[in-house]
């Protein structure tokens, strides 16, 4: 695969991620208002079952993609890139352990990281799109406004990172919803958290 093909592949993955997030939001709205039919319930349950492994796969893909950009293509990470890496890289380990233990309560630890990462990605993307808002000139070093990749007329590296963070957050929220609906316990021991659904009304 050429460098261009890898960039386009990552961008296409990001588009699929965006579509998934949009579809999840629509289904969640429908569930709140009209309720879900048996087929949609089945699909929802199926997705919730694999939410944690998929969240791990997204974090791993983002991490490999990030390392590919800096170590293979030698794009110099800027300060904001590093902040996003700080949020993304630990998720690979945390979500791997959670997926193996089927610990849906991991959203308590992973969701803040994904949310902070998405905020930084948003700022970085706006910095790229409106560089004048921060500075009007480039110095000799790579600045955060440098657009290394521009795919499908809207996806740069921070935009793809944003999709990654939001996708992980969405999958964690799905895992959380399943956790609240069916009080599943980690395979390797119970947690001490009280289950709200087991509390008598």
């Amino acid at each position: 695969m050429s460098n261009d093909a890898v960039s386009l592949f990552l961008a296409l993955l990001a588009v699929v991620g965006l579509v998934f997030v949009a579809a999840t939001v629509v289904v969640a709205l429908v569930a709140r208002t009209a309720g879900l039919g048996p087929k949609l319930v089945s699909v929802r349950d199926g997705v919730e079952d694999v939410a944690l492994p998929f969240a791990w796969a997204v974090a791993t893909t983002c991490t490999i993609g990030s390392l590919y950009m800096s170590e293979v293509r030698h794009f110099t990470p800027c300060v904001l890139c590093w902040y996003q890496r700080i949020c993304m890289y630990p998720l690979v380990v945390v979500l791997a352990i959670a997926a193996l233990r089927r610990d849906r309560g991991v959203w308590r630890y992973a969701l803040p990281l994904a949310a902070i990462g998405a905020c930084i990605s948003t700022y970085h993307y706006l910095h790229e799109r409106f560089p004048d808002a921060v500075s009007t000139a480039c110095d000799l070093n790579a600045s955060c406004a440098t657009v290394w990749i521009w795919e499908l007329h809207f996806l740069s590296i921070p935009a793809m990172a944003w999709v990654g963070f939001v996708l992980i957050a969405t999958l964690l929220l799905l895992a959380r919803a399943a956790d609240r609906r069916t009080p599943a316990r980690p395979l390797h021991g119970p947690t001490n958290d009280p289950d709200p659904e087991e509390v008598p009304a």
Binding site: M1, S2, D4, A5, V6, L8, F9, L12, L13, V16, S42, D45, G46, V47, D49, V50, P53, F54, A57, R73, H74, F75, E128, P131, D132, S135, T136, A137, C138, D139, L140, A142, S143, A145, T146, V147, W148, I149, T182, P183, D195, E197, E198, P200, A201
Partner: protein
């Protein structure tokens, strides 16, 4: 009421084994979902490979003698540059709202700008001689700089609309070239933008840029016909301010007041 009862019932209704059945059903679904996701990823990879191998580089035509024409026939991205004359000190930050320096803030104002002798992308000789009697705007750009990428098409559009005053020349130096940075090679960028002014390719050490005291990108040095520096500016300049400065240069007026 039934709904709320169902919600509080951890077993999901009258059948205590319904969750077990659901779990078994979920186990059957999981391989299909993972397999489906893997197929989607493979299809995306195939699309990416097919699209990138079938796309060809098609750039428009460029008028002969322009920077874009030399860039279309590029044989090099950097070239040796010879500097004749004393180098300018690095440009200080401009004071006030004007993007350009004035005599009170910039010690290079009124100094003789050095002559640069080098080559363009197509190895044709390019000489930037500020003492040739023609007022000049010498513009330094870096292919990877987003501010240069925004400024170049604005100025090109302004030139193409016939706004460049007669008797003023714009020349460009492509500097800070790095093949591991975005928008490489600079020749492809210049060709794509249809950039009319002549382009000199700076060497890998940025000799031309250093000789003119470059502080950042884009960088403008304006000289009068005698080769004296009239104004310098760095960073993105709004096109109306750029136009006002060039008009003032053509009329021999102070740039800061005109811009």
């Amino acid at each position: 009421m039934t709904g709320s009862t169902h919600k509080r019932d951890p077993h999901g209704g009258a059948d205590p084994y319904s969750k077990l059945a659901e779990a078994q059903s979920a186990r059957k679904r999981t391989p299909w979902i993972i397999g489906g996701a893997a197929v989607v990823v493979l299809i995306l990879a195939l699309i990416a490979v097919l699209v990138t191998t079938s796309s060809d580089d098609s750039s428009g035509t460029a008028a002969a003698g322009t920077g874009a024409a030399a860039a279309k026939d590029a044989k090099q991205e950097t070239a040796k540059v010879e500097v004749k004359g004393a180098s300018l000190v690095q440009m200080p930050s401009p004071a006030g709202d004007s993007p350009f320096t004035s005599a009170s803030t910039d010690p290079a104002i009124g100094r003789q700008a050095p002559t640069l002798v080098g080559e363009s992308f197509d190895r044709s000789k390019v000489t930037i001689d500020p003492t040739d009697g023609i007022p000049k705007v010498i513009m330094f750009v870096a292919h990877w700089c987003p501010h240069c990428q925004r400024e170049v098409p604005l100025i090109q559009k302004w030139i193409a609309a016939g706004n460049l005053p007669k008797g003023v020349e714009i020349v460009t130096v492509s500097t800070a070239v790095a093949d591991d940075r975005p928008n490489y090679p600079p020749s492809a960028w210049i060709a794509k933008e249809g950039w009319q002014p002549k382009v000199m390719a700076d060497d890998g050490d940025g000799t031309a840029a250093q000789a003119y005291g470059l502080p950042g990108f884009p960088y403008f040095v304006m000289t009068n016909g005698k080769g004296e520096v009239v104004a310098r500016g760095s960073g993105e300049v709004p096109i109306d301010q750029f136009a006002a400065a060039v008009d003032a240069l053509a009329k021999g007026q102070p740039i800061s007041a005109g811009a």
